[in-house]
């Protein structure tokens, strides 16, 4: 099994999956197993990595603690206009999938965003889902997220079943569709809840880069 060794590597791997999927769709499940969090080591008995994720009160929080059927991390930043334009959709998905056993977390990876700025942002855009801060980019590294907004869906055993865009409305910087034609995150969640493999496990998110750590 391939371990994860940082973002760049993840990206290469994801490309391989995408290419393989196109050629040999049935193989995708096999490859999916490879897109596994370091945290998956926990499932095989090794020590759980200690994450220093903070909630908006500055308390340590473990998003994997609950019994959600799936956990969604949506990486956001307060000053990303693409993130903000997705706020209504994020709210809708949160409302739709929370009763079905999905835990939603907004992840603010910026080391610089103050708690006050985050709270203001949550309030202004009415995200409604719990937020956590990842000031040391531990979750960023674990999930391989690179963009805001980027969604990562994790299931039991801390397997990543989806990483990428929320939908395909943004095609590139300055290139948007009038409306999305694929609903990647919603589809991934629906498939996961139905016990089915996610058809497209990885997509390219468009938005703002997660800043490097200072």
């Amino acid at each position: 099994m391939l371990g994860l060794q940082g973002r760049k590597f993840v990206r290469v791997l994801i490309h391989t999956i995408a290419a393989a999927k196109r050629a040999l769709a049935p193989l995708s499940l096999l490859f999916l197993g490879a897109v596994m969090l370091t945290g998956a080591v926990r499932a095989s008995g090794a020590a759980q990595p200690t994450l220093h994720l903070l909630d908006t009160n500055g308390r340590l929080v473990d998003p994997f603690q609950g019994h959600a059927r799936a956990t969604v991390f949506i990486f956001v930043r307060t000053d990303c206009p693409v993130t903000n334009r997705y706020a209504p959709l994020i709210r809708r998905l949160h409302k739709e999938f929370t009763p079905r056993g999905v835990a939603f977390w907004l992840v603010y990876p910026s080391a610089l965003a103050t708690t006050a700025a985050i709270l203001n942002h949550d309030r202004d855009f009415q995200f409604d889902c719990p937020a956590l801060r990842d000031p040391h980019h531990e979750l960023v590294k674990l999930t391989g997220a690179d963009i805001t907004p980027e969604a990562v869906v994790v299931v039991t055993g801390q397997r990543i079943v989806y990483r990428g865009r929320i939908d395909n409305q943004y095609v590139d910087f300055g290139v948007t569709r009038p409306a999305a034609t694929t609903h990647d995150l919603a589809d991934a969640l629906a498939a996961t809840l139905a016990g089915k493999p996610v058809a497209v496990a990885s997509t390219r998110a468009i938005g703002c880069y997660i800043s490097d750590l200072p």
């Binding site: 206009p81 706020a87 855009f125 095609v171 910087f173 300055g174 009038p178 880069y209």
Partner: protein, 657 residues
């Protein structure tokens, strides 16, 4: 020699490292090292990056402006560093659509390849801050109005509430210009009220308030990407009144201001983008006046081919063209290309009579979001006989992500965002204001409308505008023909009948003219122009009572129209005189009194009223009116004579028999 070799080698290895580290940055020609190479020292923010950012990014990326985040400090820039490298390499930022080398435009917002490479190298080398002593002085920005306090600020009557999500909104808001005398506008500026949601705005000048009928309720605005206004006088749209964030407002040079007349509406044509939360916008327009009336009169020429815009679903490469031959020498001052979401490649150029070609603009990757007006650094001089060309290409496949329809549908011209357009507006200044005693703009207008008719032989507006141009050139026969064509094209349109009548009236054919004015009034009983013209025509035909009837209706419609009030007073005065001649003295007195109520300073009317009263035997009242006539005009010999006569009569009657 050795030294040169050494440098070259060092440069090469640096480039190789760069190539590796920046594997994700799209390759651009810029990445190739130029000679001489920039110093191989480490790129720092203070020395190398800040000057680029300050000049190109900070004007928008600062508080209260349109940029979604600030780019003012090292920390601001570092936290967006990879973003900056990506969007500059793809040339998404700074937004600038024209291809370099296809028109030399003022205010170009385009990074050089070296600047893009510097930004990339900075990030690749670890985003060093460097020595703060190297920092250029912080850019100084003017908060608020960029040109200082405007002479007049007009604000939208009520705020517009933009939904949190959905497609972009194109909406027009009417802002009445509260000027009481004609003012000359040298610059406009817009403060969006909410810079993050207003993407850009156009201002249209609506001299007749013709857009007001498009509003459901006053202040609501109306939707649509493109707006058409009507004007009763030939005062063509001559200036681009365009605003986009981050650009310094354009100030017209001396003598090129435009006249803003009382009663004019400004129509704010706004492009708004939902931000993810509900937004409120209440934009203000700042107007800057000058005392110098316009001496130079530019004109906007429109190349377009909307009539051919019928784009089949699935067509990746649909093209329309238009070309227009200039009837006189012009200077091209600027261009404004416009298409909607299917437009991809927009080209405009001119060919001179000698066959040489001058590019006006080429936009290889059209993006409606960043549409704008492009003004030339130096006007492009084109002699008479030069041909303006446009060629626009559209992609109506699903590979065009901006396609409003999935799956693609047939798309035709229209002003909704889901329709398509193909316009190239060209602002020209005739090199001579007059040719052979004729306003050059009329000559251009005539040529433009003939060109339009060649494309659309039954087009109402073209026939109407051509007829108007011809009429003002004194070519009345042809004007009549074209008004007739316009009326045929739109048999229910009162303005064509009215124009037709005016051309006939100018030919001296008053009875035919009256018939067309009456037809206009049958179509639109409250058409103020037709009421006025018919009244005037009837006045000339000495049909004063009927004339008064027209002017009375007009005054009821427009109580503040002083011209109409004066005409009504005149018509009533004349009608009264006729009635007095027929010995219908009570009717005459009624008309004179109504006339005086409208125009109380008319010595003639008092004299006539006095005359009618005297003939009725109301001598005392008559005396008063003659006295008033003489107060108003002591040299009024008739009134003096009448006063003498009426006093003699009063004396005689008072004398014992």
């Amino acid at each position: 020699m050795r030294r040169a070799v050494h440098l070259g080698a060092a440069g090469l290895s640096a480039a190789a490292v760069l190539g590796l580290r920046l594997a994700l940055v799209p390759a651009s020609p810029a990445a190739r090292p130029a000679l001489p190479r920039p110093p191989d020292r480490r790129v720092t923010f203070s020395k190398d990056v800040a000057p680029i950012i300050n000049k190109n990014c900070a004007p928008c990326h600062r508080p209260e402006e349109a940029g979604p985040f600030n780019l003012l400090t090292y920390e601001d820039v570092r936290t967006h560093a990879r973003q900056i490298v990506t969007v500059t390499a793809s040339r998404f930022m700074p937004p600038w659509l024209p291809e370099p080398g296809y028109g030399d435009f003022a205010g170009e917002r385009r990074l050089t390849s070296e600047e893009i490479a510097t930004l990339a190298r900075w990030v690749a080398q670890g985003e060093a801050e460097g020595d703060s002593r190297d920092l250029p002085p912080a850019p100084r920005f003017t908060p608020g109005w960029q040109l200082g306090k405007p002479d007049l600020v007009l604000t939208m009557a009520q705020p517009y509430h933009l939904a949190a999500t959905g497609v972009d909104v194109y909406r027009n808001f009417i802002v009445p210009a509260t000027v009481t005398t004609t003012r000359y506008v040298k610059a406009i500026e817009i403060r969006p009220g909410n810079p993050k949601a207003l993407h850009h705005a156009n201002i249209l000048v609506d001299p007749n308030g013709s857009c007001r009928r498009l509003e459901g309720h006053p202040g609501d605005g109306f939707s649509g990407m493109d707006v058409r206004t009507e004007s009763e006088s030939f005062d063509p749209e001559s200036h681009f009144l365009f605003w986009k964030p981050g650009s310094q407002p354009y100030v017209e040079p001396d003598g090129r201001a435009w006249a803003l007349k009382p009663g004019t509406d400004l129509v704010l044509n706004m492009h708004m983008q939902p931000t993810g939360k509900p937004e409120t916008l209440q934009a203000s327009v700042g107007l800057y006046f000058t005392d110098m009336p316009p001496v130079y009169h530019p004109m906007l020429l429109q190349l377009e081919r909307d009539g051919k815009l019928d784009i089949p679903a699935g067509d990746p490469n649909f093209t329309v063209t238009d070309s227009f031959t200039l009837p006189l020498d012009v200077e091209v001052l600027g261009v404004y290309p416009h298409a909607h979401y299917l437009g991809t490649d927009l080209e405009g150029w001119a060919t001179r009579p000698d066959g040489s070609r001058e590019w006006l603009i080429w936009i290889k990757h059209w993006n409606l979001d960043w549409q704008g007006v492009y003004r030339y650094k130096r006007p492009v001089v084109l002699p008479r006989g030069s041909v303006l060309h446009m060629r626009y290409t559209y992609d109506n496949t699903e590979r065009n992500p901006r396609n409003p329809f999935t799956p693609p549908r047939r798309v035709v011209a229209g002003n909704r965002a889901t329709d398509e357009m193909g316009h190239l507006w060209v602002q020209v200044l005739p090199r001579q204001a007059e040719i052979g005693g004729k306003d050059s703009r009329i000559i251009l207008q005539e040529a433009m409308m003939r060109h339009w008719l060649a494309k659309y032989p039954d087009d109402f507006v073209a026939h109407y505008n051509l007829a108007s141009a011809l009429a003002s050139e004194g070519k009345l026969d042809e004007a009549v023909t074209n008004f007739a064509e316009a009326a045929r094209a739109q048999p229910t349109d009162a303005t064509a009948e009215n124009g037709w009548g005016a051309a006939l009236e100018a030919q001296g054919n008053l009875s035919a003219a009256s018939a067309h004015y009456r037809e206009a009034l049958r179509l639109e009983p409250d058409d103020p122009d037709a009421l006025y013209n018919l009244g005037n025509c009837l006045l000339q035909r000495d049909d004063f009572a009927a004339a008064a009837e027209q002017f009375r209706r007009l005054v009821q419609l427009r109580p503040d129209d002083s011209g109409a009030r004066g005409k009504l007073a005149r018509a009533l005065g004349a009608a009264g005189t006729v009635l007095a001649g027929e010995n219908r003295l009570d009717d005459a007195i009624r008309d004179f009194r109504e006339s005086l109520a409208l125009a109380p300073d008319s010595a003639d009317a008092y004299n006539n009223l006095g005359g009618a009263l005297a003939r009725k035997g109301e001598l005392a009242e008559a005396e008063t009116d003659f006295e008033r006539a003489l107060q108003l005009n002591p040299g009024h010999s008739q009134a003096r004579n009448n006063l003498r006569l009426v006093r003699e009569e009063m004396t005689r009657q008072a004398a014992p028999r």
